[in-house]
């Protein structure tokens, strides 16, 4: 699965939570939760979406590696190999 396909899934899941957000201009290095005003419930739902879609389990201890868009993409592609 290529990075752009992963991004596409991430944007779709985030879209369900923050419909009005405009993902094209999302800076890859910014803290996602602050930029998109996502609280802990939204974030958990996002992870549940990832788990359902891609079948990867994300333990709480890994939350730290999922701050920015770039982090999430690399975290996922590593898990999918």
């Amino acid at each position: 699965m290529t990075d752009s396909e992963i991004k596409e899934i991430i944007f779709r899941l985030l879209g369900e939570i923050a419909p009005e957000a405009n993902f094209a201009e999302l800076p890859p290095g910014e803290n996602l939760r602050e930029v998109l005003d996502i609280d802990s419930f939204d974030f958990l739902n996002f992870l549940i979406g990832l788990n359902a879609e891609l079948g990867i389990d994300i333990p709480e201890s890994d939350y730290g590696q999922l701050r920015t868009l770039a982090d999430i993409v690399s975290y996922i592609s590593a898990r999918l190999k």
Partner: protein, 395 residues
């Protein structure tokens, strides 16, 4: 294999007691034979069998009672007979708790309420001339007159002030303004009427977070618990020890509420705040609390809340931990008499029996209505809250 079941002989017959069998194992039987006698509340009744065959197995002994439809015996038949399937209706007994709201409202006729909406009149400022001070249509029309005159004056003075355009998010205008007006009215009334006192305490969350970690390892991601669930449960249990914080201030007296319905503040993406109630929070398990909150958040954000959920909170809880705020000093929602606030859990230096260490600390605050309770009771509540979080395995 034919099934001989406890027959239903009438709408009001739910079960019968098997008095005796007229045949024994291996006996041949034919259609129309009286195979057994059953005791019902109308007396003993002979039970007919409707198929030929041989009794292969007896499943219910004389003296036992069995609900309608229970298989009493198996009958080996030459040709296979389609057994009559009896679905046991699962009577989903939905216990419905009635929440009795003893809230006294000023009396306003429906016509007056309608006109107030149309003419933009704040009913709390209208003098009622109807029976018992009830506000009637005419009263609202008079208020509209005086309001129009006042607006004309205000317009004159407003001309001098330069108009600075504010950048606000686009938002369906009426929903935003109506909600903003409702919050404004409540907050203004709270400030006007409620003498607030504030208490704060810092809670060591290591035990609670440990409990959470263990729980989440056992669970799939879908059932994962969020940290905020623990302080909510602790709050609910602490309220049982200090019930005076769980009620309403009405007609100059505290009206305690039996049920603990915690109003959970949920912010809307387009701005604005809604506080649906988690009903009977003290009786809900951590999983049930998580489930309820997830459901409330989804329905709040999609606008599908039941009106009862918005009006029957007995206390309000606001959790700004996600936002990175350390301590919250909240404003109580009338007619409630308390508000609990939780900030962010942060790593902080912590001294304990003269040893210094780093602990995950949660700042918990209580805003109390001094008419209903005093600081003493408020601090006992925070103390209980802390205690429950230190024995988090019991939550």
């Amino acid at each position: 294999m034919g099934e001989f079941r406890m027959p239903s002989l009438g709408a009001d017959m739910e079960k019968g007691i098997l008095v005796g069998w007229n045949f024994k194992l291996g006996d041949p039987i034919k259609r129309g034979d009286i195979i057994a006698v059953v005791e019902t509340d109308k007396g003993a009744i002979d039970i007919e069998v409707f198929e030929d065959g041989v009794i292969d197995e007896i499943l219910v002994q004389p003296g036992e009672d069995a609900p309608v439809g229970t298989v009493l015996a198996l009958i080996r038949t030459e040709k296979e007979l389609p057994g009559a399937k009896v679905e046991a209706e699962a009577e989903a007994k939905l216990g419905k708790q009635e929440v009795v709201l003893t809230e006294k409202r000023t009396r306003v006729s429906p016509l007056a309420r309608k006109l107030a909406g149309e003419l933009g009149i704040d009913l709390s400022k209208v003098e009622g001339t109807g029976p018992g001070g009830a506000i009637e249509g005419a009263d609202v029309e008079r208020a509209a007159q005086t309001k129009k005159i006042a607006e004309v004056e205000a317009k004159k003075t407003a001309e001098q002030v330069p108009h600075i355009p504010l950048k606000i998010k686009t938002q369906p205008q009426d929903l935003q303004s109506r909600m903003r007006r409702a919050i404004a009215a409540a907050m203004a009334r709270s400030n006007r009427e409620i003498p607030h006192y504030y208490l704060e305490t810092r809670i060591d969350m290591s035990c609670a977070l440990k409990r959470l970690e263990i729980e989440n390892q056992k669970r799939s991601i879908k059932e994962r618990l969020l940290p905020v669930v623990l302080p909510i449960k602790a709050t609910a249990l602490a309220l049982r020890e200090v019930p005076e914080l769980n009620g309403y201030w009405i007609d100059d007296q505290l009206q305690l509420q039996e049920a603990v319905h915690i109003g959970f503040a949920i912010s809307l993406r387009q701005g604005g705040l809604v506080i649906p109630a988690i009903h009977h929070a003290d009786m809900k398990s951590l999983d049930e609390l998580m489930e309820t909150m997830r459901d409330l958040i989804i329905r709040t954000r999609s606008g599908h809340l039941r009106s009862s959920e918005l009006t029957d909170g007995t206390i309000t809880l606001t959790n700004l931990g996600d936002m990175g705020v350390e301590t919250v000093y909240g404003v109580i929602y009338p007619p409630q008499v308390a508000l609990v606030g939780f900030g962010k859990i942060t790593e902080q230096p912590w001294a304990e029996n003269s040893m210094l260490g780093i602990r995950p600390i949660l700042n918990a605050t209580l805003a109390g209505d001094h008419r209903a309770t005093d600081g003493h009771r408020g601090s006992q509540f925070l103390e209980a809250l802390n205690r429950y979080l230190q024995e988090a395995e019991k939550l």
